[in-house]
Symmetry: C2
Subunit: 351 residues, 2 copies
């Protein structure tokens, strides 16, 4: 059945705003009518694409044709735009990180409740195939019970030279990438987080973190480590997973990696090996004795179209939303604890 | 000039005791006269090799022919054997970890001072080529100033089923491997450690750690991460190093790895790449644009013979000792802080 398109106005026509416009053009059931941006250059760009240019935010929210406001501005403006849009009867798709802190997200959720509009955050990285592959390894118990997960995002170009370098606008890598990594980790381990430890790197940027290390300890003792670095000229693997019966690694977004599974309960005695200037029996590798087996990574047919489709169907009452606001709020609370941990140079309790 | 050999008695004729005997047989300037061990099986083994078997420790330290007592027993017995040997006029070579804690090491240092004998700890992993290669990368500033170092020792066989599983005897991976990794890191970054954070893994052993994660923060903000795991079926790289002008990786004891160095001060603007379900400009890889260059790892001609040679020459007043007791004591103090960090689930200050 052909869908009647929802009319969209994009606020903030930068990298992500443009990305959404492209997706929506392909999907056809969202139709972008116009954009609003404070930069003349972006207004020009929009006009060339045949999009309407709204002079200011009031013009956007007062346009009765608009069903959905898509927010892709710097983080410090999300709350106010979202609240205004919902109060004018618009649904809202919002870029991540949703807000500067949990309190702002609570404000949004209060207005969502009052107005009955939909507010949803574009946690697009829940649809990354690498993440879904790791989640499948966990869910299928391919390597027994997964008890430790590491995810690293390593680049070598520093932080982009825009608002992402400014604390007042919600810059820094913890808010930019950390919000994705934490969101996914909370999807994977369905239990309380008891402890949060975070440290920041300030290689060239003293105002916001240009890298972070975040360790979460869960109620059962499971642990998750998330790291982002922007001065890593060689990258460590994207994912590294330990289970009771094996390990898995994904080296990069190209999905190169493997699963190694323990195939025996009886461990043959190890022969000590020469390692550097010493002997080690503990760290002797496994020889080709059949005790472990390499398997390919599970491949998942993932598409971000599911996000847009789910938003469309939720607005029409046909599905419930996948990216839930209480999940998003929990991540914001967790990130606040991470900032607190950095500030105090301490592990801080959570939940 | 031919050296007059020093006569050695080995206390504890297990894996490491046997390893020393083999080395000393090759070197010729240490001559092993006999061994003492509480296990009949080890006494038999020694007799077959033509070594004398001492009935007990008193017999060892009272043997006037013995110049050097080599201690390779479980960790809880090191202090008393060392003190007794030195009080009987013997020099002592001791396995690591030197003692159960810093106070025991202080006792030993007091007796060393009183008796004028040499007491030296076999920190053999200062002679590992992989470590020396990393140290060379730092010292030669191949990648600018090194500000973060990671060292991981990953095995998949659990802890050996001997005293290393017992807390009372000083078992666990922090004392076994951590003492090496911390010792080397303190050699690399010559400054105060301000903060220590450590967590333990207890995958199968609840009494001692069968893996640990140790993060040190130094006065200048430099950081070092050390990890040991014994249920890692896929290993992460042995070394990973970040400098202001590049990164380096060493994958394994086979010395496979590389150095990647930044070759420019002007960063060309990155093109966003598709990564998973999203775009990223921050994490866009470097294309073949000459901004970075791969170099081979520096290769170091390292030999553990230098340790034995240095002990011999120090005893003869011809060199000063390489492995200094105040360095060893500092590592023990650091490990105590690591245990405290685990206990409190907190980052603890140090120095």
């Amino acid at each position: 059945m052909k869908r009647t398109p929802l009319t969209v106005a994009v606020v903030g026509f930068g990298g992500m705003g443009g990305h959404h416009v492209e997706h929506m053009e392909e999907l056809t059931y969202f139709q972008v009518k116009g954009i609003q941006d404070i930069r003349k250059s972006q207004e020009e760009l929009a006009r060339k694409k045949g999009l309407e240019v709204y002079p200011d935010l009031s013009a956007v929210v007062e346009d009765e044709e608009v069903d959905v406001v898509l927010i892709a501005t710097p983080n410090d403006s999300h709350r106010d735009i979202a609240v205004s849009a919902m109060r004018h009867g618009k649904h809202v798709i919002c870029e991540k990180p949703v807000t500067m802190n949990a309190a702002e997200m609570e404000d949004i959720m209060q207005v969502e409740k009052e107005t009955g509009q939909l507010f949803v955050v574009h946690q697009n990285r829940r649809w990354d195939e690498d993440y879904l592959s790791v989640k499948a390894i966990q869910d299928l118990e391919t390597i027994g019970e997964v008890f430790h997960v590491e995810c690293r995002i390593h680049g070598s170009r520093g932080i982009p030279g825009d608002w992402r370098q400014k604390k007042a606008q919600g810059g820094g890598m913890l808010l930019d990438w950390g919000v994705h990594l934490a969101d996914r980790q909370l999807q994977m381990f369905d239990e309380r987080v008891t402890h949060v430890n975070c440290t920041f790197q300030h290689i060239r940027n003293m105002e916001v973190d240009d890298g972070f290390r975040l360790m979460l300890t869960f109620e059962s003792g499971k642990t998750a480590y998330m790291e982002v670095g922007t001065f890593n000229y060689i990258g460590l693997p994207l994912w590294y997973v330990n289970g009771t019966q094996g390990s898995a690694v994904i080296h990069s977004w190209d999905m190169d990696g493997k699963v190694t599974r323990l195939e025996t309960d009886r461990e043959p005695d190890a022969r000590p090996i020469q390692a550097g200037a010493g002997l080690t029996k503990t760290m002797a590798p496994r020889f080709d004795d059949g005790t472990v087996k390499d398997l390919p990574l599970p491949r998942i047919d993932a598409s971000i179209e599911e996000f847009y489709d789910n938003v469309y169907q939720t607005i029409h009452g046909e599905e419930s939303i996948i990216v839930k606001n209480d999940e998003v709020l929990r991540v914001m609370r967790l990130l606040e604890k991470a900032f607190e941990s950095v500030e105090k140079m301490q592990t801080v309790p959570f939940e």
